[in-house]
Amino acid sequence: MFRLEGVKYKNILDIDKLYIPKNKITCILGKSGSGKTTLLKLLNKLISCTQGEIYYNDRLLKKMDSIELRRNVVMLPQVPAIFPGTVKDNLLIGLKFSEKQLVSDKKIFEILNMVHLNKDLTESAENLSGGEKQRLALARVILMEPEVFLLDEPSSALDEDTEQIIIEKLVRYTKKMNQTLIMVTHSKKIAKTFADNIFEIRKGKVINQ
């Protein structure tokens, strides 16, 4: 799905070769400051590499329209973004941004259930707790049904049990939907349990496992 060749980003990342397979769960591990978020941003084309080439489905990333790419390869930032408005506004804003068809409340509740968030849709999203905001942001990207998820520590604010359950549901869902999941995580346990493919980033370089 993604192929990186000789990719450098400033002096932060230096990836000689990296392949990320389609329809699989890929986990990215690595110490704080090693360059994990930077890598996801490169794949989402939120930033462009200073050297080398990135291919998405054998197409050169730099030749692709950024907005079209981001609508298929959606990124969930490390710090959940909460926009002014209600829970529902926040859930639908991803679909609005990517100009996709809005979904029914039934679909919304199905996804909220998946991330264990039972909140009134009319509640103001700013009042949610840190962990609730994180799950809200996760539900938002799931609703968008992208080809690829780039999730930057999607469960960092959750307790271990909840984390395990939600990630399991997410993994099952993405497999069913034939989606590709690329996830940064600090939990070796999560990576070992769910990933088809794991690699580590150390000081900007990829260490394969």
């Binding site: 084309k45 950024s66 981001r70 930032p77």
Partner: protein, 259 residues
């Protein structure tokens, strides 16, 4: 206009004494603004004296070139003043957008009001053209200054929300919309507020001047209405131009935010 009271030197001096008293109070209260008050008073005095003499000359020797020259100086001064007034760092690109929006917006509004509304003849008649240009350019300058500050601050403060929107496939326009709208609102609000209070809370400067110099209040009011509409139109136009072009300077061709 023999009913106009020309101010004598001692009357002017009395006005300055008023400011001296104010300075005295400011000093006693320990408010650290003495320097600013002093400097702005001096600047205002010198600028107005100079302007007064220049206007006398231009009014007596009206010529399209003089009018255009005065407008040009006003525009340059206004643009420069915006750069100085907004206490945020401005890139070269956004400075160009400010200058372009300011000049285009004010000149369009000015010519519409001079040529279509007032139907001035000759069009460059400085007695009308220059004060009207001053009102339009001055107010637009204030509006755009507020807009620039709100836009630049907004983008810096909400960087993470803009990036999050981009990550979800938003166009830069969608991602920046709340900030752009907010910048527009805060730029236009003072003009709207001053329109609402007009005639009740205060008499606007131009009308005061006209009435004092013997023009019938009814005529003065008609002019004031026209000028206020011109000011509103010009402020809105310059600020719309600025925000619509300005937010784009924060994004590159790859639709990435770069700050």
């Amino acid at each position: 206009m023999d009913n106009v009271i020309d101010l004598q030197i001692w009357q002017m001096a009395a006005a300055y004494i008023f400011v001296v008293v104010l300075l005295f109070i400011v000093r006693i209260k320990g408010i650290p603004r003495e320097k600013e008050i002093l400097i702005s008073t001096l600047r205002m005095t010198l600028q107005l004296i100079l302007t007064g003499y220049i206007l006398v000359y231009i009014f007596n020797n009206s010529h399209p070139l003089y009018t255009i020259l005065v407008i040009g100086i006003m525009e340059v001064f206004a643009v420069y003043n915006i750069f100085k007034r907004v206490k945020v760092k401005l890139t070269q690109k956004i400075k160009e957008v400010i200058a372009f929006s300011m000049v285009t917006g004010t000149i369009l509004s000015l010519f519409y009001f001079i040529l279509v509304v007032i139907n001035l003849s000759p069009w460059y008649e400085p007695r009308y053209f220059i004060p009207i240009a001053g009102m339009i350019i001055g107010n637009s300058m204030t509006g755009i200054s507020l807009g620039v500050k709100k836009l630049v601050d907004g983008i810096n403060e909400q960087k993470h929300l803009i990036e999050a929107a981009l990550m979800l496939g938003a166009t830069p326009k969608m991602a920046a919309k709340p900030i752009v709208d907010n910048a527009f609102d805060s730029a236009i609000l003072p003009t709207i507020n001053s329109m609402v209070g007009m005639g009740i809370v205060f008499l606007p400067g131009m009308m005061t001047g006209q009435v004092l110099s013997g023009v019938s209040p009814v005529i003065a009011i008609k002019y004031q209405i026209v000028i206020m509409l011109g000011v509103l139109g010009s402020v809105a136009l310059t600020v719309i131009l600025f925000v619509q072009l300005g937010y784009k300077t924060f994004f590159n061709e790859e639709h990435q935010l770069h700050i």
